[in-house]
């Protein structure tokens, strides 16, 4: 069965800290890995990674994929209270003509003052 495992499950940091969120996966027909941010509503897209070793950056957030070791990390530098959310990792794979995303359970991040 396909698996996407995120760690830690939750963490609390102080504003200004740097955090690293982890995602490991075991899927049959890997095509992409995505990170989403979920506050009290719909998940919002952050990054999509398809190639190993190429870092994607957006402001204070960055992510990288290692297809050999089957994991990805999401870094957030200089955290702010607005970064408090659940961060979801999802893996995209081919299932016939379908495009299937398998999600992890998420990492709940709380940033305190």
């Amino acid at each position: 069965e396909d698996k996407v495992v995120q760690s830690p499950l939750s963490l609390v940091v102080h504003e200004g800290d740097t955090v690293t969120l982890n995602c490991s996966y075991e899927v049959t027909n890997f095509r992409s890995l995505l990170w989403y941010k979920q506050e009290k509503k719909a998940p919002t897209f952050l990054f999509m990674l398809t190639s190993s070793g190429i870092e994607k950056k957006s402001g204070r957030l960055s992510s990288i994929l290692d297809k050999k070791e089957l994991f990805s990390i999401l870094n957030i530098t200089a955290t702010q209270t607005g970064d408090s959310a659940v961060y979801l990792c999802a893996v995209g794979e081919d299932v016939g003509t379908a495009s299937k995303l398998t999600f992890g359970t998420g990492t709940r991040l709380q940033v305190t003052l």
């Binding site: 996407v4 095509r31 992409s32 995505l34 989403y36 509503k41 719909a42 998940p43 919002t44 897209f45 999509m48 979801l88 999802a90 995209g92 299932v95 016939g96 003509t97 379908a98 495009s99 299937k100 995303l101 398998t102 999600f103 992890g104 359970t105 998420g106």
Partner: protein, 115 residues
Amino acid sequence: EAGVAQSPRYKIIEKRQSVAFWCNPISGHATLYWYQQILGQGPKLLIQFQNNGVVDDSQLPKDRFSAERLKGVDSTLKIQPAKLEDSAVYLCASSRGLPRRDEQFFGPGTRLTVL
């Protein structure tokens, strides 16, 4: 660009009742997905449509859940009869298709409580 629309936002029903959710995807997005997200878990795919055809419904409990996308645009998801374990947020998402078909855009969800 308008986002994915869903209604209702909240629904409370008793077990064994029926309920229906509606989703209108982003204009031009051929692929539509329904997910179930139970509290503390990641979204789980229930069904995927490509235009008005089903391409994956392997995780849809077909004895009680049904979904349709008759004209290839908006979609409805129905539960009949509901069970307590169906309490969850039901998310609808859509995507453009190739080459970024994995980039899915989510609606605000419908929070279902079954009593």
